[in-house]
């Protein structure tokens, strides 16, 4: 719904994921789970009910061996910038688009759990809490105090580690600055990626790494034809990977989910 909230702001946060660097190790998923106080159930085999704000899809080029090629597509919330599908449908305004940062976040204590946003999101980036969160004995002491756990019956999603933005801003304020430096606020997944495939930063800052990377010739976004204008970009020099990102009439769909 950014067209309704366009305000003069120097910040708009986005992410670039270099798929040619991604090894599919899953460190981004694990760091996200840890940072955002996710719990893990004893049986997580039902992946359609398993919460993973940063989900890694495995795709192949569909060719038989020895021409098979594999790529991994880490998928956080896209923080759609145009008429954000989940924001406009929420009946109780529990989903928020922040016009100052472009971050789409969820107000857990207001969510009624109708799951209309889950249906509206084409990226499957929204997760409903089918169970109450339970941590192993004593583990609650290890939870991140900056992130509230979610209760059963509400929807949750990647927030671009919004709490880290608050911390970075607090630090800047103490140091007498109003603006953040590039790299001062990064998400947990970007920080944890061992191959530095994930870059995060302010897209409105022309000097930021993110702003430069999104202009790369191999940059693309998922499902661009839908017009959601995601703030998550992907990079790849492989044309079959770039083509996997969107539907194209008549093209053979060779890519497969993990």
């Amino acid at each position: 719904m950014s067209e309704h909230h366009e305000v003069a702001s120097k910040e708009k946060y986005g992410m670039v994921i270099d798929l040619d660097k991604c090894t599919g190790c899953g460190a981004c998923t694990v760091s996200c789970l840890s940072e955002n106080n996710h719990y893990v159930r004893e049986d997580e085999s039902d992946k359609l009910r398993s919460v993973a704000w940063m989900k890694v899809y495995k795709v192949t080029n569909g060719e038989p061996f020895p021409n098979t090629k594999v790529a991994f597509i880490p998928r956080p919330c896209m923080h759609c910038d145009h008429h954000t599908p989940c924001v406009s449908v929420c009946p109780v305004m529990a989903t928020d688009y922040n016009p100052l940062t472009g971050i789409v976040s969820q107000i857990y204590t207001r969510c009624i759990g109708c799951r209309y946003c889950v249906g509206a999101c084409p990226y499957h980036a929204r997760y409903f809490n089918w169970w109450d969160p339970v941590w192993p004995e004593g583990m609650h002491k290890l939870l991140n105090p900056d992130m509230s756990p979610r209760m059963r019956g509400v929807v949750e999603k990647c927030s671009f580690c919004n709490h880290r933005l608050q911390k970075a801003k607090d630090k800047a304020y103490v140091e007498g600055r109003r603006d953040l430096k590039d790299g001062e606020y990064v998400t947990a997944c970007a920080e944890a990626c061992p191959t530095r495939a994930i870059t995060f930063g302010n897209m409105k800052d022309p000097e930021s790494a993110v702003a430069k990377l999104i202009k790369s010739p191999g940059a693309f976004r998922l499902l661009e034809k839908l017009g959601t204008q995601p703030k998550v970009y992907y990079l790849s020099n492989e044309s079959w990977i770039r083509e996997s990102g969107d539907n194209a009439l008549g093209r053979k769909k060779t890519a497969r989910p993990a």
Partner: protein, 412 residues
């Protein structure tokens, strides 16, 4: 035993037979209430919904009963606003069916939200951009209108009517009924439309997305059109079933024929615009998103047969039966047409609810199958038991059918 509560001049079965009949339905209802409590206690993990199928059997049931309950507002509109006098014989029963449909939809919705105790947030923090907000407001308001329309009928119970306050209240309600019918029509048009709009606005879900007029996608108008076409057929169907069960003619045949003719004409119009909508969707909306019509259907559960069943078997065929005088005058053909049309609208709501979510949007994703859990089945089917209880009580104790005495003179 309860003779004094039964309307004068009509024949009803013995109290023993009636209570046995009620015990059967109350048992089913009790099982459903127990299941509902289990769901409230354990949470929505008791269903087979998941993060792909955020909506499932309950939303299908909700949309289905709301469309079928449209017979109440549309019959009210025809009776009180357009003054079609033949429908006076049916209007009370249409209101009862509407009341059952809308109250059960509200009950299912309460069960369907993850945080039922926060249900009131919908009124307190309304998002004016959300079609669901419009649905929440309009359904609640229209349910209030239906209650107001139902109450005078309850007050007309022989014993209650003897009370002067109830008598006066009932009389005054009747005086104002045309106003309530008009309000009900206005509200119903909007929420039937909003329910369709809920899907049409999902621009990132190509299966459901439709362009439209101003802020309303075409599904907004299609849902209204389908509801006013099929709602009356469901009213006719339930009336015919009740006549069969009670072995009496409760409504003049002419009333059913008039309503069937109106429904048939509307259904013809609806089928034409639905075909036009499908054609435009397949040739413009989908290609613009890099998708083909064939990609929207998959396997057996989500196959193309659904489209043919919805538009052909349950759309064109009942429409043709209903507009053909000779066929609609025949009870068997009339029941067949009404049943097919009613199934068709539920099928349409199922397709919009479940297939929209099943269809993979990512090129690297796959189709998933959803099948409701037994808890979802039991609670959804409870609508039938709930309806049977309300109709049975109303039929036995309230003067629902004004022509019943004339149509069934006492045997000499």
């Amino acid at each position: 035993m309860d003779r004094a509560w039964i309307p004068e001049g009509v024949q009803r079965c013995s109290a023993g037979a009636f209570y046995s009949w009620m015990a059967l339905w109350l048992f089913v209802l009790g099982a459903a209430v127990t299941t509902a409590l289990l769901i409230l206690w354990k949470g929505l993990n008791q269903t087979n919904m998941n993060d792909y199928f955020g909506f499932g059997a309950w939303i299908t049931a909700d949309l289905g009963v709301i469309a079928l309950g449209a017979g109440a507002f549309f019959s009210g509109f025809l009776t009180y606003v357009l003054r079609i006098k033949e429908l006076k014989a049916l209007i009370n029963f249409a209101v009862i069916i509407g009341f059952i449909c809308y109250s059960s939809a509200l009950l299912i919705l309460t069960l369907d939200i993850g945080q039922p105790l926060r249900g009131w947030f919908g009124y307190w923090f309304p998002n004016i951009h959300s079609m669901l907000t419009e649905v929440i407001f309009c359904i609640t308001l229209y349910f209030t209108v239906l209650t107001i329309e139902y109450v005078p009928l309850i007050l007309e119970n022989r014993k209650i009517y003897a009370n002067p306050v109830a008598h006066t209240l009932s009389h005054n309600f009747h005086e104002a009924m045309a106003i309530f019918a008009a309000i009900g029509t206005f509200l119903s048009f909007f929420h039937q439309g909003s329910l369709g709009g809920m899907y049409g606005v999902l621009y990132a879900r190509p299966f459901a997305f439709r362009e439209g007029f101003f802020v309303w996608p075409w599904t907004f108008f299609l849902f209204i059109f389908s509801a006013i076409s099929v709602g009356p057929t469901f009213t006719i169907l339930i009336t015919m079933i009740l006549q069969k069960v009670t072995k009496k003619r409760l409504v003049p045949r002419e009333s059913l024929s008039v309503l069937a003719k109106i429904a048939g004409c509307l259904l013809c119009g609806y089928v034409i615009v639905k075909i036009a909508d499908t054609y435009y969707w397949a040739t413009h909306i989908l290609p613009a998103r890099g998708l083909t019509f064939a990609e929207q259907y998959h396997g057996y559960q989500y196959g193309l047969w659904l489209l043919f069943a919805e538009i052909g078997l349950c759309g064109i065929i009942p429409a043709l039966i209903l507009i053909t005088r000779r066929l609609r005058e025949n009870d068997k053909w009339l029941v067949l047409a009404c049943a097919l049309a009613s199934i068709g609208v539920v099928l349409n709501r199922f397709i919009f609810t479940v297939q929209t979510l099943a269809m993979p949007v990512y090129p690297f994703d796959k189709w998933y199958i959803y099948f409701p859990s037994w808890q979802e089945w039991v609670t959804s089917m409870a609508v039938v038991a709930y309806g049977a209880v309300i109709i049975s009580l109303s039929y036995r104790y309230l003067p629902v059918f004004p022509y019943e005495r004339d149509l069934n003179p006492p045997a000499r």
